[in-house]
């Protein structure tokens, strides 16, 4: 348990970590959480974490807390223009983390949402953290379900629980986790609340050999099911390294123009990244 921490970028000697970072309700203290913020350069990293979520749910706040960077945080739409990247280490293991533009859906076409969906679908992050607004849970859950249809390597950060408390809203976190089949962690990222638990959940999902399977939409209509399966096989034959061919087939059947174009000009194949778990040196 007393793993020595590599702490580049943190000008202090870490104290031995206590039991899982007991400070769950105070500002995130790196020495108490096995966390080292690595700023822009994660150096060698073992895992890639993507931060997804609706606009204004606190993605950049989480990103900054984990990396020590100052990605713009604010209260208006469209501020995360492209994706931002940084790094941290946790328990001595390096993570690269990507702060994605806010998106309500992976299915509608808009420039911001395309960035997010390309990374999630084809970049195959080891962990996708979906940051949701606890005061607007119903509005946020469709994206969680869409991400769960792509991967089981998901952690839900139920953020803004301080705001929710102020509004008298309590969320049954355990029930939500059971229904989604993935860890759900209550956080108030602006004050660091819950971030030690979030890190522990990220580590668990990143290192498990046995993630839950992606949620599969059940189509009552056997003809539709047959069409999806046939088309998915054809997509797989044309793009052998592409994950999520079933998802692509559904998009094609729905007439998604972006996916159609990417199939036609072959660029869909370029999106496929090396499989997860590959250890790379950052460029």
């Amino acid at each position: 348990m007393a793993t020595p921490l590599p702490t580049p970028g943190v000008g202090r000697t870490p104290e031995p970590p206590d039991a899982g970072g007991a400070c769950a309700s105070c500002a995130l203290a790196p020495e108490a959480t096995r966390l080292a913020r690595l700023g822009l350069d994660p150096g060698r990293y073992s895992h890639v974490v993507a931060l997804a979520g609706n606009p204004n749910t606190g993605k950049s706040t989480v990103f900054n807390a984990l990396t020590g960077l100052r990605q713009h945080v604010g209260n208006w739409a469209g501020k995360t223009v492209a994706r931002a990247e940084g790094g941290f280490s946790y328990g001595g293991v390096g993570y690269r983390i990507v702060d994605l533009p806010g998106t309500y859906s992976l299915l509608s076409a808009s420039a911001d949402e395309d960035v997010a969906r390309d990374v999630l679908l084809f970049g195959r992050p080891d962990v996708t953290v979906v940051v949701v607004d606890a005061t607007r849970l119903e509005r946020n859950l469709p994206l969680v379900l869409q991400v769960r249809q792509i991967t089981g390597r998901v952690v839900v950060a139920l953020n803004l629980v301080d705001e929710a408390r102020r509004h008298g809203i309590t969320v049954d976190v355990r029930h939500l986790a059971r229904e989604l089949g993935v860890p759900v962690v209550a956080t108030a990222a602006r004050r660091g609340e819950g971030l030690p638990d979030l890190l522990a959940a990220i580590e668990q999902v990143a290192t498990t050999d046995d993630p839950p399977p992606p949620l599969r939409l059940v189509h009552r209509d056997p003809e539709l099911e047959r069409a999806v399966a046939t088309l998915a096989d054809q997509v797989a034959a044309r793009f052998p390294t592409l994950p999520n061919t079933r998802w692509v087939a559904l998009r094609l059947l729905e007439g998604d123009p972006g996916i159609e174009a990417a199939v036609r000009d072959g660029s869909l194949g370029d999106l496929a990244a090396p499989p997860p778990g590959t250890v790379e040196a950052a460029g």
Binding site: Y104, S105, S108, T135, R136, R139, E254
Partner: protein
């Protein structure tokens, strides 16, 4: 009736979306599905667009979008 006819301040429940393709997807992503509760909140001076409260969020729709949304007004 369709959503564009819902008087400001009134509530309704979505019954159907009469639109296809990307525009249908867009409405669904905004939370407009059969069964969704909608509340007409504010209308701009010219009556278009209108802001609706849908599933805890304020969503602004143009009239032609709202016209594609069939609703059952809430009895008062």
């Amino acid at each position: 009736m369709t959503l564009d006819e819902l008087p400001r301040g009134d509530r309704a429940v979505v019954t159907a979306l009469d639109i296809r393709g990307g525009a249908r997807r867009r409405l669904m992503d905004l939370g407009l599905l059969p069964g969704s509760a909608v509340h007409a909140e504010m209308t701009s001076p010219l009556g278009d667009p209108t802001a609706y409260e849908i599933r805890g969020a304020l969503v602004v729709l143009r009239r032609e979008q709202a016209r594609a949304v069939h609703v059952e007004p809430e009895g008062r």
